[in-house]
Symmetry: C2
Subunit: 345 residues, 2 copies
């Protein structure tokens, strides 16, 4: 990375649901960009977009695209990252990869800045951004891990369709219109774009995100399980996940049950969460105040509420964790990593 006070940034997948959010955040945060390269597949090359009032032409991503680039943000699918991330590294860039391509690679740190920014120091050119559903959960759990230790996690998710990309958002809207008009509802994308079977998403809950593995869990569930262990640096923590897509456009919600190693008081838990960077506690049951996906949409924080002690296990705690999956769940986490890298210079 150069020692100048500005950084040449490449964004691969600039027109996607996450790429659009990354561009907006780089602008909003006034990230010290020297030159910005927006890269894509050959199909989208030549299109233009606006960044800080200037027109940027999208170029086809090739190995040579990364010449002179300091920070390369990848958000164009795992196969693109596998083909090009190392090409970027070879040319001196630090890659922040938002796909699943390198997350479980032992050579690649998997980073959520509020949780384990120290892991980023060990990078060999690539830093991975965790899966959206993992990021919001580990932020909410980190202060409790530090104070009480964590023995187990059981999570059930309520995930927005935006996690499956822009086309899934359109698909849900179109399906919902059809359902309201009494017409046949036919899914085109969900649950998994690359698989043959489609299920209706309008007015439904689909217990499949990503493909199934042999153990009966989906890849999304295994991401939550394995990424959590890696981020917390603890192979012994027991994690179980059920990942479900619901007819929500933006914002994943999670019903999180944990058991801590040491005893806690609920009031202390609320205080720890309230004081933790990146968390906003919304938890006034008497006023019907708790996190909602529609309130979290467009925001950077992780929202936590419904905080209550289990009735059978004194070390058991329930929480409801909500976050915009495209922002902190993806784009904002990546931009935060970039900001931290730059701040360390």
């Amino acid at each position: 990375m150069s020692n100048s006070k500005t950084y040449n940034v490449a964004l691969v997948g600039a027109t996607g649901a996450v790429g659009t959010q990354i561009l907006g955040l780089l602008e909003e945060r006034n990230f010290p960009i020297g030159k910005l390269k927006c890269l894509s597949s050959a199909r989208s090359a030549g299109a233009t977009l606006t960044f800080k009032g200037e027109t940027v032409t999208i170029e086809e991503a090739t190995p040579e695209s990364f010449e002179g680039v300091d920070i390369a943000l990848f958000s164009a699918g795992g196969s693109v990252s596998k083909a090009l991330a190392n090409e970027a590294v070879k040319r001196g860039a630090v890659v922040i990869d938002n796909t699943s391509a390198y997350r479980m690679d032992p050579e690649v740190p998997l980073v959520v800045p509020e949780v384990n920014m120290d892991h980023a120091k060990e990078h060999k050119g690539i830093i991975a951004n965790p899966n959206c559903s993992t990021i919001q959960m580990v932020v909410a759990l980190k202060p409790l891990l530090d104070e009480y230790g964590l023995d187990r996690i059981v999570v059930s998710t309520y995930q927005a369709v935006s996690g499956a990309g822009s086309r899934a958002i359109d698909d849900l809207k179109n399906q919902t219109e059809a359902a309201l008009a009494g017409k046949e509802v036919k899914g085109e994308i969900l649950p998994v774009g690359s698989l043959p079977k489609k299920h209706p998403m309008a007015f439904n809950a689909i217990p499949q995100i990503d493909v199934f593995e042999d153990n009966g869990f989906t890849a999304e569930e295994m991401k939550m399980i394995n990424e959590t262990k890696k981020i917390f640096g603890d192979d012994q923590i027991k994690v179980a996940a059920t990942c479900v897509r619901v007819p929500v456009l933006f914002g994943h919600s999670e019903s999180v049950y944990i058991e801590t190693k040491k005893p806690f008081e609920v009031e202390d838990v609320k205080e720890l969460l309230t004081n933790f960077e990146g968390i906003t506690v919304v938890d006034q049951p008497a006023e019907q105040a708790y996190p909602l996906a529609t309130d979290a949409a467009g925001k950077k924080e992780v929202f936590v509420g419904r905080i209550r002690k289990d009735l059978s296990y004194s070390n058991g705690l329930h929480m409801w964790v909500v976050c915009d999956n495209l922002i902190k769940g993806a784009a904002w986490n990546a931009v935060q990593i970039a900001e931290n890298l730059v701040a360390e210079k």
Copy 2:
């Protein structure tokens, strides 16, 4: 109850979301009805509906309405049941109450026919129908309870708006139309009709069903906890619930995690569930087949899928349980109880 081969039936709340389903089932099942009385508040009295091709005029429910009635099905809210159920009993009727009024009364059996029809024998005039979210879960768990014993249950629900009545269905549809048209979305009913604050339900997940109790759990969550213990006749079983409303019209889905007392093999679990009355197993991950609310709508069975062993606890099991909340979760369970009472005569 008379010894004739037909039974005089009263239905209180005949025009509601559940009452309508009860009438449809009594007709479909050709229940041996002598005289059918459809009862309601003074407001709806005088309206008519059709049963087996005949016009039935709705009458105002009064204590005298139950003279000569053998079976009274109540589905008009807890306050109506509290005011009139004992009046019906006094006049010789057996009441099957679909409200929460008597569920936790130690004198009143709480019955799911596939699970504990034997409890109904102890009735003193009233038999309670459990809460919708409880019914589908205890059906799915009963064969496992019998074979392996149950130590704990952790459940997160994905509940349809029809559980909050016909007006909530209209509210979700209206809100969704507004949201798709880019207009402001304002909820009118949910999360709880009787509470002041309304939240948007369109494209959202609301972690509140019914009012909050002092322990931070909602009344809906406490129903699942307490009713499960009562139905299984086991105060020691540990139950934890998080109840969430999602933008689904018909059919509750549940992410259920259990720990059994004795070890199990997943294949045996699937066989036990497949062979259990009232359950249909849908569990072929390779074909993306699992229970879906849109498939369960209008059906009587409890659908179970995503059956898999936990990765940390060898006695831990995950399942996805789906059922039409208005049918087996309410109307069909009540009609089943009535059929069983009649069969025992």
